[in-house]
Amino acid sequence: MLRAAGLVKSYRAPSGAAIRVLAGAELTVKEGEFVVVAGPSGSGKSTLLNVIGLLEDADSGETWYGDERVSALGRNGQSRARARYVGFVFQSFLLLPSLTALDNVLLAARYAGRRGPAARRRALALLEELGVADRKDHFPPQLSGGEQQRVAYCRAVLNDPPLLLADEPTGNLDDANGAVILEGLRRRARAGAAVVVVSHRPEAATGATAVYRLRDGVLEA
């Protein structure tokens, strides 16, 4: 489902010096796989996830979703690819504060062109499944961190994306809430999605089909 080859990415330090974060990273994730990328803070895990999720461009290298070389697409083409293929779970949830929990979930359907009663029914079912249905009309600031991440998880899986990318999804959660989110991601993998989780927490690797470490900009098994 996902194939990334020769990913190189550098940032410019305030001094002007180039800091190479990815130095030819390679990653392949098939449908149904649950892959964990580990590594210390600052090793480039989030950058890797951003690049393979088309949230930022690599300096060089290619990213493929199935048979489509999505890294070659333009800005709007990449947006459409994200809507069709990818669901994101972020460490800081990234819910829109002006929308209710339900509307935040439905946002994913809006940009995938799937608005309508079916999307609403599915969103409500997901909120029910994650135990936050009674919070559907609450705004993010009225929710706990765990509740916000459950809502964010519902948003990520609303369109049944074939690729799920989670960046430290349990980083701001207690153990109980973290376990709910990780289990949800594993369930998606079992259902056929390709799941990539970036985390420095050991429990994330439980049940993983592969665990990689990002060292010196390269993924090592």
């Binding site: 930022e56 947006s79 948003r155």
Partner: protein, 396 residues
């Protein structure tokens, strides 16, 4: 409706900022329009007639300030080639004190010779809002200007005392936003009586019998009309040449004089209007752009979820339209409210400071909406050019 409520709630401070900006813009624009209408009205009046007064200084005021204009002189004016009609007039300050010196226009008593049609080409008759205009043979009746009536609570049938004599108000003029708004118009015979009552020098002169004056000689000026096809300036110059002892205002000269004497106010309000446009426009554009930049993280998240430029452009266009329309309408309502309160207070001294024309209100609304939408579109263009990750980072 729910979406609109969400937008209004989410952009409450932005809307408040736009409201204040537009209110300031509209209020200053309305003051500017008021002065422009006043000047244009005066200009239209003076260009519609040739104003003639007696040479010298006298009791007369307004457009015909000067000395006495005796009946014999008026007859001579009527005989000048090109003259179509001459209407004797008496124009007096209602209250001849220096306290009215700084007012935009004085309250004036205008006495008209109703046996002659009004010669002013632009005002064949003054527009009456209620009741009727004066008729030949009327005595002790008055038609009052809109501001004059409002300041004293006068209507048709009201009683008015002028120089100790009672008058019945038979008509109220429409608001013209120029000098007649503060006029009391009476038959010329009544005005002559008021003049004598006001002027002790004239009383002494008449009592002495030294001057051979009749009531018909007591005119402060005359409005002169010209025949079709005649050049009014040429007719005025001909009167000056043929009739001795008169001050003749050349219409085009008087128009220039009026414009130059009000040039300061015109420039002041034009400047204030332009300043309001610049400050209000910058403030509005800045507020709208800032509102978009504040949501940079939201844009990043939306792009991460698959929003294209078209999705975001449509959302911003819809939201900025809702925000600027709401703010613009609220600003106009605030300006109208402020104007009504201030003009209510000013009306007690027969003044009106604001004129909210439909053109001004529509222009202000269109200006705020177009500028707001343009600013939001520009800010959105800047934001969408960032990668989603960068937008999320910057908005964190």
């Amino acid at each position: 409706m729910t979406e609109l409520r969400r937008i209004v709630r989410g952009y409450a401070f932005t809307i408040a900022g736009i409201t204040i900006g537009v209110a300031g813009l509209v209020a200053l624009g309305a003051m500017s329009e008021r002065i422009v209408r006043f000047i244009e009205g005066g200009d239209r009046f003076v260009l519609g007639q040739i104003s003639v007064a007696g040479r010298g200084m006298g009791m007369g005021t307004g457009f015909t300030a000067g000395g006495l204009l005796p009946a014999a002189t008026i007859r001579k004016i009527a005989e000048v080639e090109g003259v179509a009609g001459v209407q004797s007039q008496v124009m007096l300050p209602l209250n001849p004190t220096t306290s009215q010196f700084m007012t935009l226009t004085q309250e004036l008593v205008l006495g008209l010779d109703l046996s002659v049609p009004m010669p002013n080409r632009h005002y064949r008759e003054l527009p009456v809002r209620a009741g009727r205009f004066l008729r030949e043979g009327d005595r002790r009746v008055a038609v009052v200007g809109a501001s004059f009536a409002a300041s004293r609570g006068l209507g048709v049938g009201s009683r008015l005392t002028l120089e100790g004599a009672p008058y019945e108000v038979v008509g109220v003029l429409e608001r013209m936003l120029t000098a007649p708004d503060r006029f009391v118009i009476v038959p010329i015979a009544d005005a002559r009586e008021q003049w004598v009552a006001k002027d002790r020098l004239l009383q002494t002169l008449l009592a002495s019998g030294a001057a051979a004056l009749t009531a018909a000689d007591l005119n402060t000026g005359a409005a002169v009309g010209w025949r079709n096809g005649q050049d009014p300036d040429a007719v005025a110059l001909r009167i000056r040449e043929k009739v001795a002892g008169v001050n003749v205002q050349i219409p085009s000269e008087l128009s220039r004089l009026l414009r130059s004497s009000t040039a300061f106010f015109s420039a002041l309000f034009a400047g204030l209007g332009a300043l309001a446009l610049v400050i209000g426009g910058l403030s509005l554009a800045n507020t709208m752009a800032a509102a978009v930049f504040e949501r940079i993280r939201d844009f990043g998240v939306k792009r991460a979820l698959g929003a294209t430029d078209v999705h975001l452009g449509r959302e911003v266009l819809g939201e900025s339209l809702a925000v600027t329309l709401t703010g613009g309408l609220a600003g106009i309502a605030l300006a109208l409210l402020l104007g009504a309160v201030i003009d209510g207070w000013a009306a007690r001294s027969s003044q009106q400071l604001f004129h909210f024309s439909p053109r001004l209100l529509a222009g202000a609304l269109a200006f705020s909406v177009l500028l707001g939408v343009a600013a939001a579109a520009w800010a959105t263009f800047r934001v969408v050019s960032l990668s989603p990750a960068e937008a999320i980072r910057r908005g964190a």
